[in-house]
């Protein structure tokens, strides 16, 4: 296999992992918050906070708790990344992939 083929296979594997994780995180959010939608209804780029999915700060704290238990990721507001992390499901998943410890 050429380097190029290896790279594209890796890329495909990473994308598949991200998609699987995205579905898993969406499921966790719906379950933890008792939302009246199915996980698939959370669009990857829809804002989670405020408009969009309509979550409030209590929900965000709840998601942070679930994410810390499941993936060992501790969120920090003073990192300045907070608005971005909860910008969308995709961004939350990317943050988890980069920072997960389990």
């Amino acid at each position: 296999m050429s380097d190029h083929q290896v790279a594209s296979l890796r890329h495909a594997a990473a994308t598949a992992d991200a998609n699987a994780l995205s579905a898993e995180v969406a499921g966790l959010i719906v379950q933890a918050l008792n939302l009246e939608i199915s996980p698939a209804q959370i669009a990857p780029d829809q804002p989670l906070y405020g408009e969009g999915l309509g979550l409030d700060s209590i929900d965000i704290l709840e998601i942070a708790l679930v994410v810390s238990k499941k993936y060992g990721v501790q969120l920090r507001a003073d990192s300045g990344e907070n608005t971005r992390i909860f910008g969308s499901l995709r961004q939350l998943v990317e943050y988890i992939i980069t920072h997960r410890t389990k």
């Binding site: 933890a32 918050l33 008792n34 939302l35 009246e36 199915s38 405020g50 408009e51 309509g54 409030d56 700060s57 209590i58 704290l61 709840e62 942070a64 708790l65 810390s68 238990k69 060992g72 501790q74 969120l75 920090r76 507001a77 003073d78 907070n82």
Partner: protein, 443 residues
């Protein structure tokens, strides 16, 4: 010392100099709308208003609608802020970061020349706002003397009246009555030091605690406490936990005391009355009243009066007196909804729901599991008859009318509401409808 900013102490002389500097920057006005999120900025703003004879307006949220309504309440108000994201659409803004930015250069020797300001106890110090049942914010007027009296009595109860200088960290906003009293006023009235930051995530709370010396107190709520204990974050040593705004599960209180190795004290109070009672939930279910405060049974509920309470006030809860100074709490008066310190009534929520075009009939209700919800937050549910609307459009219409914490979960669409012969909606019928919908939903 009066505060810690990111762990660095701020001396009283510095604080007074900052307050005087701010006074010089405030243009003529009689009201100051204090929207600062940094607790030190907030406290400088409060002191500047007190020194210069202005009334501080404390908004319970910074939702555009609330800020707009406060702007209408006091058109001359200057808004003190420390955010520059343009979210506050008021004409007269003053950014404290710009005004106090260079204040670290102040030499304490120069600042010490300022005498300690004396504030008349009868002076109207603040108006605290809650969302009223009609949607317009209701002002509760607070005189300086009673505010300080209440907090000093609290300090005595908490063991913070004399001795060591404590560092006080709070996860609640300084504009909320509980946060205002238990962090800002407690520090001002009893010589403790408040932490400027308002940490949100468990890791933020732990880091903020680590930065300040002991003894240290954490002023928090059941929601934050539960997240903190469940997060797996290493918990720093703590000397006192204060909790309020919503009922705290006994189990959570016991776990918090065990893991922090500190007492957990729970405060009962309201925006109208301020703090009125205290208990240590791991020791007793009984609340002990502030001295001088008395409860009296009235036809419409229980009234609190005396002590620091300026007007006899009907309490929003069902109380059982167990002695002249003690009582048990039996939950909210059923029409009232309190989520995360925000209050509304089912009647108001129903009014808003039924005013949406396309809604033929609808009702909010407490679900059977909401009081013991696994998230620790009791949400409200709603049943609605609205064949022309879908959940997204109805939720959008509700969002324009009510605070997001009251958005219904679940929101059930039904062909008709389970009204009985007299047109009333039995709670049990609504709850069983919710239970049926839940079991019908595929997992």
């Amino acid at each position: 010392m009066i505060a810690y900013r990111a762990g660095t102490p701020v001396l009283v002389s510095q604080f007074l100099a900052d307050a005087r500097r701010l006074v010089r920057s405030i243009p003529p006005c009689t009201h100051v709308l204090n929207a600062c999120s940094d607790r030190y900025h907030f406290t400088v703003g409060l002191a500047a208003a007190l020194i210069s004879g202005r009334v501080s307006l404390l908004p319970s949220s910074q939702a555009p609608r609330m800020m707009q309504q406060l702007g209408a309440f006091a058109p001359d108000a200057i808004c003190l802020t420390d955010e520059t994201d343009g979210s506050i659409a008021l004409p007269r803004l003053l950014d404290l970061r710009q005004i106090l930015g260079a204040s670290a250069k102040y030499a304490p020797a120069v600042a010490a020349a300022h005498a300690m300001p004396q504030i008349d106890a009868a002076r109207l110090a603040a108006c605290v706002f809650t969302s009223g049942s009609t949607g317009a914010p209701l002002p509760y007027r607070k005189s300086f003397g009673p505010l300080i009296g209440c907090v000093r009595e609290g300090a005595r109860r908490l063991g913070l009246a004399r001795g060591a200088r404590w560092a006080i960290l709070a996860t609640v906003p300084p504009q909320h009555m509980y946060g205002f009293e238990a962090s800002v006023l407690l520090a001002l009235a009893c010589g403790h030091a408040l932490c400027a930051e308002r940490p949100f995530y468990p890791a933020d709370i732990a880091a903020a605690l680590e930065r300040v010396p002991r003894p240290r107190a954490l002023v928090t709520t059941p929601v934050h406490l539960r997240a903190l204990l469940g997060s797996g974050v290493e918990l720093p040593a703590l000397d006192l936990l204060l909790c309020s705004t919503a009922p705290l599960a006994q189990q959570l209180a016991a776990e918090a005391e065990r893991r922090f190795g500190a007492r957990l004290l729970e405060i009962y109070g309201s925006t109208e009355t301020g703090q009125v009672a205290l208990r240590r939930p791991t020791h007793t279910a009984e609340w002990r009243l502030w001295s001088g405060v008395a409860l009296e049974l009235a036809a419409d509920g229980t009234r609190a009066r005396g002590g620091h309470i300026e007007q006899p006030t009907l309490l929003p809860d069902v109380l059982e007196m167990t002695g002249a100074e003690s009582f048990l709490l039996h939950g909210r008066v059923s029409d009232l909804v309190n989520i995360a310190g925000k209050r509304s009534s089912l009647a108001h929520l129903n009014y808003q729901l039924n005013s949406i075009p396309g809604v033929e009939d609808g009702a909010f209700f407490h679900t059977a599991e909401s009081s013991g919800s696994h998230t620790g937050v009791a949400r409200v549910a709603a049943c609605v008859v609205a064949p022309a609307l879908d959940a997204a459009r109805l939720t959008e219409a509700l969002r324009e009318r009510i605070d997001a914490v009251f958005l219904p979960r679940p929101l059930l669409f039904v062909a008709r509401l389970p009204r009985n012969d007299t047109g009333k909606l039995p709670l049990a019928a609504l709850q069983s409808l919710a239970a049926q919908a839940r079991s019908a939903t595929p997992a």
